[in-house]
């Protein structure tokens, strides 16, 4: 059994970020494991903070700030966590990552073995990683499109994953067509 915590999935799903939970659930189930929700941020096996609108970020701003110490703790431990988009931008300073404004970049990118789509005005690293903790400006189905990390993440959660060859071919095609990789 794998427990997961996701922060207000009804609002923090701007670009389908909650789809990462579906990917984790499907792959875990294929390996005989089950995903179960929990309200415990600190003790959850996996944590997701998706991207949200400006309205949602303002509304939940104080709550997010109050959760920063726990998130920093998970970062330091390398605990399985995915922080996406606006939440990455909000927590970056807490994680000790400096950033500057830049002209907006809306594009597919591939860097350091990670691939996806970003849409940002901050020059944060595309992925900040510590163990199985990943904060990223890459939106949407990050786990679906980064199978190597997905396998490592699942292994860290005690699941021996066997990704389907058909899906791996699709991912290779997506990368090839998006960035010519």
């Amino acid at each position: 059994m794998i427990t997961f915590f996701t922060f207000h999935p009804e609002h923090f799903n701007n670009n389908g970020d909650q789809g990462n939970l579906l990917v984790l659930e499907v792959e875990a189930k294929a390996a005989g494991a089950q995903l179960v929700p929990t309200t415990e941020l600190e003790g959850a096996d996996f944590v997701l903070f998706g991207d949200a609108s400006r309205a949602a970020m303002r509304h939940y701003g104080e709550v997010l700030d109050s959760l920063a110490p726990v998130l920093v703790s998970r970062y330091q431990r390398g605990a399985a966590t995915l922080v996406v988009g606006s939440c990455y931008e909000r927590f970056a300073a807490d994680l000790g990552i400096e950033s500057q404004s830049m002209p907006r970049r809306s594009e597919f990118v591939s860097q350091d073995g990670f691939f996806g789509y970003r849409n940002t005005e901050l020059d944060l690293p595309i992925v900040t990683r510590s163990g199985n903790f990943v904060a990223t400006s890459l939106f949407g189905p990050f786990l679906a499109k980064n199978p190597e990390f997905l396998v490592q993440l699942l292994e860290g959660l005690g699941v021996e994953a066997k990704l389907s060859p058909a899906r791996l071919e699709m991912i290779a095609e997506i990368q090839r067509r998006s960035i010519g990789g």
């Binding site: 609002h11 670009n15 789809g19 509304h59 849409n119 095609e173």
Partner: protein, 399 residues
């Protein structure tokens, strides 16, 4: 003189392109004319005796525009309008080429233009509409608009120069514009268990003056305007709201004949390619345009999921296909062909919802040909705008 030359060259280019690509449309003639005679659009629209109405918002622009155009036509007005997929600058210039005279002059009474929410502000600066109709603000095309708050800002700019604004008061985002002396339509109730429409998230609920038209759900939808109640063929609250907005706009432009209005709002086949049955190679094919998470979900909700053969297409108009992960495809058991330049993204998404996939074919034309080879008595295609254009052009269905 420049207008005459630009129109002539634009029409020549259009003619040549039609020879090269029979049945196909292109934005190039419109682009050419907009470069050669950038003031032509403002001059042509400016000469219309009853001026310009613009319709904008995240969704429902085409439905609202077409309903308004039909109502005005039934009241004897000659209405200049643009195709729903040509709602940016070059599209209007293309429409002048096809509907204007040799000088680009329009022999019409009024223009009703569907306006892309991203391009509209720049357009209305020159055109000064007498009426702006705003449909809604959704969390849509985030790769382009970044955040719904920026869409609200763009719609405010479209509304600012308009003589009057008509808006959907059910959407708190539009209520937040604080439109002074605007006219609005409000949703009083939905039918049965239909949930209320979902708009871009906000946590306040700005108040506005009481609405002029009310949409009421029951057995079906009806719109109440003053002492009149007009039943609508709309099967969902968002479509009924579009009807009410069109009705309110028409009420500002003509003295309404409510029998004529009734005939428009009860026509169930109103919007091109949203849900269209078309004869292709002696088969009746259901074509459905899906442009964003909301319309994709609405279309999926409307089909049974057992259609055969079934093709889903995601074209190049979807810049970041991430939003496909906000759509629930789980009712589908099998999709025979997944097509379009984003076919592999769509196929990956479908696979995680447990949908069996027959074939992934990124080429829209090859996908269309292979689809037509498949047996089945309920051929159905759901496609994004780019895939739709390419398939229609390939099959000689371009309008």
């Amino acid at each position: 003189m420049l207008d005459v030359l630009a129109v002539a060259l634009g029409r020549l280019l259009r003619f040549l392109l039609r020879i090269v690509r029979p049945g196909g449309g292109s934005a190039l003639p419109g682009v050419l004319v907009s470069k050669l005679a950038p003031g032509l659009l403002a001059r042509s629209i400016g000469n219309l005796p009853q001026g310009l109405v613009v319709v904008s918002g995240s969704a429902g622009k085409s439905s609202t525009t077409q309903a308004l155009v039909r109502i005005l036509q039934l009241h004897g007005l000659r209405v200049f309008s643009n195709p729903s997929t040509a709602n940016i600058k070059q599209g209007y210039f293309s429409s002048i080429l096809t509907q204007g005279d040799w000088r680009g002059r329009l022999r019409y009474d009024i223009a009703v233009l569907e306006v892309d929410e991203g391009h509209g502000a720049m357009l209305v600066e020159d055109l000064k509409p007498r009426l702006a109709v705003l449909t809604n603000v959704l969390s849509d095309q985030l790769d382009r608009f970044v955040d719904p708050e920026l869409v609200i800002e763009k719609l405010a700019k479209i509304a600012a120069p308009a003589g009057q604004v008509i808006f959907n008061a059910d959407d708190p985002n539009l209520r937040s514009l604080g439109i002074q002396e605007g006219l609005s339509a409000s949703l009083e109730s939905t039918t049965g268990s239909e949930p209320r429409p979902k708009y871009a998230l906000r946590f306040d609920s700005p108040a506005v003056e009481p609405s002029c038209a009310q949409i009421v759900g029951g057995e079906g939808y009806s719109v109440q305007l003053r002492e009149h109640t007009i039943s609508s063929s709309a099967t969902s609250a968002p479509h009924a709201i579009n009807d009410a907005l069109a009705l309110l706009a028409a009420d500002q432009l003509v003295e309404l004949d409510f029998k004529a209005v009734q005939s428009v709002l009860q026509d169930s086949k109103r919007v091109f390619a949203r849900n269209e049955i078309t004869e292709i190679q002696n088969r009746r094919v259901n074509l459905r345009l899906v442009q964003n998470p909301t319309s994709f979900q609405l279309n999926l909700d409307e089909i049974s999921g057992d259609e055969q053969p079934l093709m889903l297409m995601a074209g190049s108009d979807i810049h970041d296909p991430s939003w496909l992960w906000t759509v629930d495809f789980s009712k589908l058991k099998r999709v025979d062909i997944v097509g379009g330049s984003n076919a592999f993204d769509l196929a990956l998404r479908l696979s995680y919802d447990g949908v069996e996939i027959g074939l992934v074919e990124p080429s829209p034309t090859d996908a269309a040909d292979k689809f037509l080879e498949l047996a089945g008595d309920s051929p159905t295609i759901l496609f994004s705008a780019d895939a739709m254009r390419r398939v229609r052009r390939h099959l000689g269905l371009a309008k």
